[in-house]
Symmetry: C2
Subunit: 368 residues, 2 copies
């Protein structure tokens, strides 16, 4: 098990060596977790000529080594008075004899970066860029297994909600109930803030639940996901409340459904990100909804809910097999509401049956 992390660190070390940096400092929490297998909050990982060291701030009154770390890793817990672990890491890199250190400039603040420069003025600080994020894009089968369980938990939580009475309950309460059910079924927590949107709020991307109550005739859109062992999935569904949907509701639902299916069907290894986006966006655009669309129609998921790749009109790159992504087009009509349909899928070659759908809750228009 711990080999996985050592292999990943080896890959990172190879990439650093290729660009002439013998030492790297990883500070972005999801990247630290990917490479160290769990770490206390605020911990950073130094890969250098002196070996790999996890530098952890002292947790207030808590266990300093909270989280499962790979046992091949040296863990150095800083006394609280020593302050910022990235500064300690710069100091340590110098004592290892490193001349340059690649850091995550997209995560480090200007102040922390400057403080590193002050304690280690002769250490050249280079940019590691999104190297670790790139390593994280293609998942191994163990990661996909975690996502699969996260999706099962999510489907269960949503399924139970659909069996309960919804009219008269607020968005906020429904969101909290979904989150409680996720945990009941074994999630470590919600993957992101659960969104429940009713009536005129429905169909919006990440609507924050309000005190609006579910009413007869409403569209109800929900977006939720479980976090299982750090891996996060996402599902979005739209329902109609009451006996019979109105014509405009059926029409809009069918349109978004068709767009989402087109996006899912475009998920093949080698497909350009922008082509997947286009497949989902095209139908909505043609129907005159182009102006209000979100800037993307899907994104990668994993240790973060929103990671590379982004499925967007200007995205560069092509899908690989074993990349889990969402496909989540939606239309929101101001004042009326709308529809969003969102699945998490894993890109697979056609020979293996094509994209693997993780979130299997029905996409029929249910009247609840």
């Amino acid at each position: 098990m711990s080999d996985v992390y050592a292999v990943r660190r080896g890959q990172l070390r190879d990439r650093c060596a290729a660009v002439g940096s013998a030492a790297a400092l990883v500070s972005r929490p999801a990247n630290v977790r990917y490479l160290a297998g769990g770490a206390p909050p605020g911990a950073v990982l130094l890969l250098g000529p002196g070996g790999d060291v996890l530098l952890s701030p002292r947790a207030p009154g808590g266990d300093p080594a909270d989280g499962r770390t790979d046992d091949q890793l040296r863990v150095s817990v800083l006394p609280a008075t020593d302050g910022d672990p990235v500064v300690a890491a710069a100091d340590l890199a110098t004592s290892f004899g490193a001349e340059s250190l690649a850091v995550e400039e997209h995560h480090l603040t200007v102040s922390r970066h400057r403080a590193m420069g002050s304690v280690a003025p002769r250490l050249r600080l280079a940019d590691l860029g999104a190297t670790v994020e790139q390593l994280r894009v293609v998942k191994d089968e163990e990661e996909i297994a975690c996502l699969r369980i996260a999706a099962e938990i999510t489907d269960q939580a949503l399924g139970e909600l659909l069996e309960s009475i919804l009219v008269g309950r607020t968005e906020r309460h429904l969101a909290l109930e979904l989150e409680r059910r996720l945990v009941d079924h074994g999630a470590d927590g919600p993957a992101f803030a659960t969104s429940v949107a009713t009536g005129p709020n429905s169909g919006q991307g990440r609507h924050r639940p309000s005190d609006r109550r579910v009413e007869e005739g409403d569209f109800l859109s929900v977006c939720l996901g479980a976090n299982y062992r750090g891996y996060r999935c996402e599902i979005g569904r739209t329902f109609v409340i009451g006996t019979t949907p109105a014509d405009w509701q059926i029409e809009l639902y069918d349109l978004v459904f068709a767009a989402q299916r087109a996006g899912r069907e475009a998920l093949v290894p080698g497909a350009a990100y922008r082509d997947v986006d286009h497949a989902a966006r095209y139908l909505l655009d043609s129907a005159g909804h182009g102006g209000g669309l979100a800037p993307w129609t899907g994104h990668g998921v994993g240790l973060e809910i929103d990671e590379d790749p982004q499925l967007a009109p200007a995205a560069m790159g092509k899908l690989d097999a074993c990349v889990p992504v969402t496909v989540e087009p939606g239309v929101h009509l101001p004042g009326r509401g709308g529809v969003r349909i969102d699945d998490t899928l894993v890109v697979r070659p056609e020979a293996d049956g094509g994209p693997e759908l993780l979130t299997i809750t029905t996409k029929e228009l249910l009247a609840l």
Copy 2:
């Protein structure tokens, strides 16, 4: 109402002018909220010779002007393709004729800072430092009223939990139930991740709830708080489960109780931060628990749960009236558990009755 924000922006503009910067860019979310009265996620605030502008990224499929903004403020919503609002702000500051722009270096990443430099090479980027955080330390009565309501909600949620049966339930479920009750009583959400710690976990600062179940004879410590209109408070209590606490539990409880009382009593305008910390820390230190203590015994609260001042041994500065802080000493004995007692109070002059206790749940050792 909107005057409050305009006044705050005026104060910031004065401070900037005093250090020779005619324009400032505020990016830290709580700071933006303090100065603009609510803003969509990712929005930044530019104060400059051309007026005050809130630059907001386009929300995916949502309402771009989510949140209540001060109507004296120009709101500029960027098309999604324009990317990062801080970069757009640098561009706009240049077109205002600004020669220098003070930015929050403790919030901006190195990458974003560099991108600003690229679009506006002749704009000198200075450091705004923690200027806005300093303005936020002393609260006005309207802010304190929000904190008072947040504390009432928190006391209610905790009080209800104490009336229910606890033995056999997991930390995770109790934490979720507390969060649901916070929202039931009118909170916008929890102020931070609710902590419930049982048995050997009890007494730890921000223990993450696990699947451990409450058992007879356990210490149970909880730490929670409501977020009400953005303002966040905190309460921590420790209880004992079962009929009679053990001798060591009573002894430890009395010690932490005395330390917390000493800390509360030290809250007078003009008291040095470090002296308040010392008052709470001294008794625990003397009893031989110094080694395991958290690096601080309290901190400011407001739009963030952990803001200035920090009540810690090396903290510089003195308390003012109308500063809300926590006093939260705790002792954790590895393998056995421990006690934490945590209140939110507002510093008030003795003539006004001394510190105002916001979180009024009893601090007797209750056996549940």
